[in-house]
């Protein structure tokens, strides 16, 4: 279980780390949209370089390839399905399956787009601590409170969920170790055995999660947490000059790119 790190935040002090989380959320939303605007190979290459540059600025270039691992399956499936199921001029045959040129192109384009989407969304979590991220989300959702969206409660829920992921893994690790000590073999290939070991893991895990949730609710209430009450924040988010520069820069670049593409 060791080595599984969720919410993959890499602590640091780069320009990207220091940006306001709201800036990062807005910028990433626009950059994600841009993935669907780029078309030509030159644009794709340029955009890819730009993403790589962002990773370098954020000091997380080491994670560039690692973050794609969970999405690899999706990328390969997309590529294979597009290559084989799109009709068009046949490029070559693999057995009874023929690969068309349009299929290959479509598959590649879609594959690259998925890669870019993963890279961009991962970048935000790599350079933003989960707490600041939820603070940012809460602030961005605030205006929607007028129409009944419980913004701070949602943020609190996300915060608690994130906060308890490591605890949950620790607990899982502990129970697995305890069951292993009693002869459980979690790598067993026999389905019946595996099911038995899973029960031995899941039952205590559920029990402890419920107990923890109960204790947490009591602890929060005894410290005065009331749903719907206006709360202040320990770390006030503040837009600084650099945030405005980044947002303005983004607006200019995106604006001119869209202008060039569509007008």
């Amino acid at each position: 279980m060791e080595g599984i790190v969720f919410g993959q935040y890499v602590p640091g002090n780069s320009l990207l780390h220091r940006l306001d989380p709201r800036t990062k959320i807005i910028v990433s939303a626009i950059l994600l949209w841009l993935v669907f605007v780029v078309e030509t190979p030159a644009e794709f290459a340029g955009y890819g370089l730009f993403i790589l540059l962002l990773y370098v600025i954020g000091g997380v270039a080491g994670s560039f390839l690692k973050v794609m691992k969970p999405g690899l399956f999706l990328i390969v499936i997309t590529l294979v399905l597009n290559m084989t199921f799109t009709p068009g001029k046949v490029l070559f045959n693999i057995g009874p399956v023929s690969v068309s040129q349009t299929g290959l192109e479509n598959g590649l384009i879609l594959g690259v787009k998925i890669v870019y989407l993963i890279l961009l969304s991962s970048l935000v979590t790599l350079v933003t601590s989960p707490v600041r991220m939820t603070d940012g989300l809460e602030q961005l959702m605030k205006p929607l409170q007028r129409v009944g969206l419980p913004a701070s409660e949602l943020a609190m829920m996300i915060n608690i969920a994130l906060r308890f992921i490591p605890t949950f893994w620790e607990e899982t690790d502990k129970i697995i170790k305890a069951q292993k000590s009693r002869g459980a073999d979690f790598e067993s290939w026999r389905l019946q055995k595996r099911a038995k070991y899973m029960t031995a893991l899941l039952v205590p895990l559920f029990v402890s999660s419920f107990r923890k949730a109960d204790e947490l609710a009591l602890a929060m209430e005894s410290r005065g947490y009331v749903v719907g009450m206006k709360r202040t924040s320990l770390h006030k988010l503040e837009f600084r000059a650099v945030d405005f520069v980044v947002l303005a820069g983004l607006a200019v670049v995106t604006g001119s790119f869209v202008f060039y593409k569509y007008f």
Binding site: K180, S181, G183, A184, L202
Partner: protein, 284 residues
């Protein structure tokens, strides 16, 4: 059976920015029938060390020897180590899952492939050892038992696999006085009558100071001092590390500092009581 850690080191989250040392160059040995107590401040590597004893963690360097055989030699030797070294985790009652006490305790023996016909007898014996009546408890649900009873079920679950070496991580934490006494008596019985080796991690050394043959003190992943329990307890390192010593040892220390020599290194209140009576009689 004897168990030995030879120059064992282990680093957590190797190769990531979160790497931190667990233990460094640990050497310990417990002979058959020996009772070894382990103390150390929080984060000193006690739990990390314990998890090496039955192969849950594999040392980065060094060896874990069970009767002089490396337990990581093969899958079979690792399996044998898991069975022969019974590890009782902290708050083991949090890991109960069985629908009945019987099912819970039979889990280990079943996994280790004990003959099915013998399992009821094994479960009965394990329950006897921890002081739970087989007839009364076998079909009870673990969740409806009291904290002390749950802990005994968990202990029986480990004992049912008939380990030669029993490793306990703060086994009395959170128990009431009676529960603590029952548990200590159970382990004492296994140690004395059946020659089981005991490795007992504790913050409350007063509970077992008269029972443990040797005491090992860990700090920052390294063995700071090891030796006969009574001798280690008088070592000034104990208070330097903020570790509790038994009241009897503290009293002897105070008396010694006032120029009254105390004999025999008492560690229990009974022992120091007798010693004080002797000293008073001597004065009269």
């Amino acid at each position: 059976m004897s168990i030995e850690l030879r120059n064992v080191s282990y680093v957590y989250s190797k190769g990531t920015p979160f790497a931190r040392p667990g233990i460094k160059g640990i050497n310990i040995r417990a002979a058959r029938g020996e009772w070894l107590a382990v103390m150390g401040p929080t984060g000193s590597g006690k739990s990390t060390m314990l998890q090496h004893l039955n192969g849950l963690l594999k040392p980065d360097s060094g060896e874990v020897l069970l009767d002089d055989t490396n337990i990581h030699l093969s899958a079979a030797s690792l399996r044998e180590a898991r069975q022969k070294v019974g590890l009782v985790f902290q708050y083991p009652e949090h890991q109960l899952f069985g629908a009945t006490v019987y099912e819970e305790i039979a889990y280990g023996p079943e996994n280790y492939g004990f003959p099915a016909g013998e399992i009821p007898e094994i479960v009965r014996k394990a329950m006897d050892t921890v002081g739970l009546s087989y007839e009364k408890y076998k079909y009870r649900q673990p969740y409806e038992l009291s904290g002390g009873e749950k802990r005994r079920v968990a202990l029986a679950g480990v004992l049912a696999a008939s380990p030669e070496i029993i490793v306990l991580d703060e086994p009395t934490a959170g128990l009431d006085a009676i529960g603590r006494q029952l548990l200590t008596e159970t382990i004492t019985g296994l140690n004395c009558a059946h020659g089981k080796t005991v490795i007992w991690v504790t913050h409350e050394i007063a509970e077992i100071a008269h029972l443990a043959d040797r005491l090992l003190v860990l700090n920052k992943g390294e063995v700071v001092v090891t030796g006969k329990t009574r001798e280690v307890l008088t070592n000034p390192i104990m208070s330097e590390l903020g570790l509790d010593i038994p009241p009897a040892v503290a009293i002897s220390g105070e008396l010694g500092a006032r120029g009254i020599p105390v004999r025999g290194q008492p560690v229990t209140l009974d022992e120091i009581g007798e010693e004080i009576i002797r000293l008073v009689k001597e004065k009269l």
